[in-house]
Each structure stands twice: as C-alpha cells, then as structure tokens.
Amino acid sequence: MSDKEFILIENVWKIYKMDTIVQEALKGVSFTVKKGEFVSIMGPSGSGKSTLLNIIGGLDKPSKGYVEVAGLRITEVSNDAELSRYRNEMIGFVFQLFYLIPRYTALQNVELPLIPRGVPLSKRREMALKALKIVGLEVKANSKPNQMSGGEQQRVAIARAIVGNPKVILADEPTGNLDSKSSEVIMEVFKKLNKELGVTIIMVTHNLELRLSDGKVIKIYNKEEYEELLETFIKR
C-alpha cells in the first residue's frame, strides 16, 4: 500500500434485490484516495453515496468489487470482531442526523468508542475532553444532546468520531441538517482536522457551494447526474 492508494475502491457494485425488483445502488465505482486527502463525494439522492461510505466503513458489504483501506482488504473480512475493531480503530463516522445517544452527556457520548477498546475510565475522560476541546465544545461536556443546538450536537458527533484517533473520517452529509452558519463552523472543524491532524476525510455532501469553494478533490461517480447538478448550480 502506498500513500497514493491509502483507500482503494475497485469496481464496487451494490445491487439490492427485493422479490422481482432489482436496484443497482452502485455501478462499478472505482477511485483511490491518498493519505491525508479531503475528498468529497457528490451525487443526487439515491445515487449510492451513503452506501459507498458504509462499504468503506465496513458497515455494509458490496455485491461485487474490492475495497482496501490502509492495507486492510475490508471486503474480504467477514469476522464480526475484526470488522468491529476496524470500525473502532480506523474509522470515525459522522452522520447527517448526529446519532448521539440522548441519555448520555456530550462527554459520555464521546467516550463511547473508547469503551470497547478497554480504555480505563480516567483515560477515557481525558481523551474525550481533548476531543471536545478540538471541536471547541469542552464547556458543553456535561450537557445532554437535547440541551445543545444542532451545530453543537454535530460537533460532539465529530468529537466522538475523532476521539480514538481514526485514520479515516467518513462524513455522511454532516451539514445536511444544519443552517448555513452552523454548516460553516462544521466545515471549519473538518478542515482543521484535515490540515492540523492529517486525518483523511471522505465526505458525502449535497452542498455544491461549500465543496467548490473549498477547491479540494471532488470524486464523481455519477458523471451525468453531477454535470446536471453543476449546470443548475452555475446558472443560479
């Protein structure tokens, strides 16, 4: 594995079959991601962006194709314990709907990924506070999700994603549920993580403005759809 092929996606297909209906969510997607790169995946709804992210993150299996992340051929791993360890140690997920557990405080939510690793409580607290500090939310450590704004909740979710020092952050439309101001804050956090900590980030987004102004690599796996979207955006 070279840094140029830190993440290797090769001819990945995902086909859903329900009775007689066959739906192709991914049709032979291939691309590579360098270590430390900030990649945006764009496409219309139902084009399989989230499915691709789930496959890279080891949450889903492709119907066909090959995925390798940091030298680990994850499409060949079927053992639950091994896949769980991969998700825990290599990947940090950030979802559009934050997915925080309401009964826990921000700090406890951020600590959650460290529990399966067997990190002792005091060390967990320390690491979780550090992660919250990176996203600028250490003051909200003891607040529960319902006591925080959407933007703050997403920052807690990012802290949870980075607390275990993952190699890759997979963000599925992280600003999709936020207003423009909060979206900007979140994007700044991602940029900071990418630049300062060198974390590889793959982000699925609909927000063309954010992506284009960012000027980073954009991966298109549904060209026709994307061009149509781009045209609409430029005319606007």
Partner: protein, 395 residues
C-alpha cells in the same frame, strides 16, 4: 471492554426506562417471595413432620400388635432374629382418675422403665422425669405431666410420695391405689403408639400383671433393629414367628412414605409458585423485545463506532441479570422478614415458620436469573445480529 463498563451502560439504560424496569423488578420480587416461601414452608413442614414422626413412631423399631397379644416367649422369638437389637413388650389399659375438675381418662402403661425413653421418644429418662425417680417397682408409678400439674394454671395438684387412685373398668371393675415415685415432664402430647405420655401412668409390668390383669400378655411388642435398612428382612422373619392375626407396622417405612409425600407436596408448591417466575420471564421477554425495537438506532450507532455483536448481546443480557438480581434480593429480604415474624399454627401448640435454607436461597436467586436470561436471550440475540445499516436507517 471491562465488565464494569458493560454493567454501567446496561444500568444507565435501565435507569432511562424506570417504569418498565421497576415493573419487571416487582414481578421478579413477587415471584421470588412466592417461590422462597413455598419452598421454605415445605422445608419447615418436612423438618417438623419427620422429626415428629421419628419421635412419635420410634423410627428404628418395628411394632407388632393385634392377635391375642404377645407372651414373653413371643418376645424371645423376636429377639433371636438376626439384626434385632432389643425387644420389649408394652401392656396398656385405660383407667379413670379423679382430678380437681372431675374424672378423666388416663392410660396405664406397663413398661420396663429403661424402655420409657425409646417408647416416648426422648433421649434419656432424665429428660422425662421432672421430679422423683424412675424406680417404678411394685405400686410405685410415674404420672404424666397433665395428671400432676393443672394444664390450665400450671399449679401442682399431685406430688412425689402422694397416692393416686384409679378406676379400672371391665369385668372385674375395681379401684387400685398407687403411690407416686416420679413426675413426668411435659412431652408436648401425642407420642409413642398413640399414647399421650402427659396423660399416662407408667407402672412396672410385673405389678401390672398382678393387680390389673392376671394374663401376662403384652398388647404391643416393640422390636428395635440395629439398622433400618434391615427392616424389610426382619419384618418377614417376624411374620414367620408372630402369633396368628398379628399386625406388623414399620414406622421407618411409613416415615419414608410420608417423606416422599411431603417432598412431592413441596415440589408441587414450588411448581405452582414458579408460575410467577414464568410470568416474569414472559414480561422480561416482552420488555426486552420492545426495548430492542425502541433502541434499534442506538444499536446501529454502537455497531458503527465499533461495538461487537457480542458486546450488544451482553449489554442486553446484563439488563435482565440486573432486573433479576435486584428483584431476587428484594424478594428474599421480604421472605426472610416474613419467615421470621409470620408463622402458621400446626399440631396445636406448634407454629410453622418458613425455613429458608441456603439451598432455597440459592434457588430463589439463581432460578429467576436463569429464566430471565433465557427469556432475554432471544430479543438480545436479535439486537446483536441487527444489520448496522438497517439499524441506523430505522425510524
């Protein structure tokens, strides 16, 4: 992942669903109270019954009655059977005796004093003689507790050295006067072969066969065996040499039968009360199934951040264990309090209190845990096997 972390996550989840958790704990608690008290009462009943039977019916003895009675020769035959330790005869006659509140019926028992402890089920004569001696030669007698002490007031109405006159009914009805050499201690009533020692007068067999009846025939032959396992063989031997019409009665065999009956009763009580545990297990199953559905997204989140299926399974099972453990401890505490302060009156003066033995306590804790873990296993396994992507999409 350490057990403490599993426990703390499970406990937090239970705390969030307070209503359902308290309901389930109460269910386990009630089931444990019912089970432990049913088993405890059964145990206490068995203890008292066995002890009572052994004392009353001379567990290591074979009793031979009926026919025309037994002569000294018959007793000698019985004594020669292999495995027989001792043989003694008892002759019995009902008499009337004048008390302060009028005449009462008492039992005149002719027995060699050295067999009195065996006959009434006490360890030694000293345990039975409260005052005086056991020397019942001639017309000297030992009177039972109710005959020398007023049962209502406890005051002494007869004493050692005094005389006591009894009326013997029958063809040669007459009055006979004895003198008291010993006063019997209270034995609690009904004992050896239906005779109540508290209401009996114990006298020398030789005097009995001189003053009460001329025929030297015992109503009862008591064969004491060395080993209760030989009882069946010895009964066969007695049957071969006993006079015609004799009835042979083995208390050991009867105690065994009663024991089987009491054990069966205890099992039935336990089965009835374990219905509660079954109902609680169904509740836990239902509660866990609802919980898995409600927490589907949470399960998806945990899987996405690296929790293994095994971790999820344990988190849910621990919830069932917590519910069972808290319910069991609370239930047992109530049962212990009840068993100490609440009793069921039996055998007149006795009170039956649930006997919570270590085995019962162990069962009352382990049974709800096992059944609830079994009930929780299926929804927990479903949670553990959830597809993380589908779980995250679940609305």
């Amino acid at each position: 992942m350490k057990l403490y972390d599993y426990a703390s996550l499970s406990f937090a989840s239970l705390k969030e669903r307070k209503g359902r958790t308290i309901g389930a704990i109460l269910g386990v608690m009630i089931a444990v109270i019912a089970l432990s008290l049913a088993l405890g009462i059964g145990q206490a009943f068995q203890n008292i019954f066995e002890e009572r039977l052994e004392r009353t019916f001379l567990a290591n003895s074979i009793l031979v009655t009926g026919g025309k009675g037994f002569t000294d020769a018959d007793l000698a035959y019985f004594g020669n059977i292999y495995g027989v330790r001792d043989v003694f005869g008892v002759a019995v006659r009902n008499v009337r005796i004048a008390q302060q509140k009028g005449e009462v019926t008492a039992t005149l028992i002719a027995i060699d004093p050295r067999w009195i402890p065996q006959f009434i089920g006490v360890n030694s004569l000293q345990d039975f003689i409260e005052e005086g001696t056991s020397d019942i030669k001639g017309l000297g007698v030992i009177v039972g507790n109710d005959l020398w002490k007023d049962p209502d007031t406890g005051t002494k109405i007869r004493d050692v050295g005094e005389i006591v006159t009894v009326s013997v009914a029958g063809r040669r009805a007459r009055e006979i006067t004895f003198y008291i050499v010993g006063l019997g201690a209270s034995t609690g009533g009904f004992r050896g072969m239906g005779a109540n020692p508290d209401n009996s007068i114990f006298m020398d067999p030789d005097a009995f066969f001189t003053y009460i009846t001329k025929r030297r025939v015992y109503n009862l032959a008591v064969v004491v065996v060395n080993n209760t396992e030989d009882v069946k063989y010895i009964i066969d031997e007695i049957r071969a040499v006993a006079p015609q019409g004799s009835r042979i009665f083995s208390p050991a065999a009867m105690i065994q039968q009663v024991s089987i009956f009491v054990t069966s009763l205890q099992t039935i009580l336990a089965l009835i009360s374990s219905v509660g545990i079954g109902v609680t297990a169904l509740w836990v199953f239902d509660s866990m199934t609802i919980s898995v559905v409600q927490r589907t997204k949470e399960i998806g989140i945990l899987k996405a951040i690296g929790y293994r299926s095994r971790d999820i399974l344990l988190l849910f099972l621990l919830e069932a264990i917590f519910i069972s453990l808290i319910g069991s401890i609370a239930g047992l505490t109530v049962s212990m309090i009840v068993s100490n302060f609440v009793g069921i009156p039996i055998f007149g003066s006795m009170v039956l209190k649930a006997d919570l033995t270590p085995t019962i306590i162990f069962l009352a804790v382990i049974l709800p845990i096992l059944t609830n873990v079994f009930a929780a296993f299926f929804p927990s396994r479903r949670a553990a096997n959830l597809n993380p992507v589908e779980a995250l999409r679940y609305e």
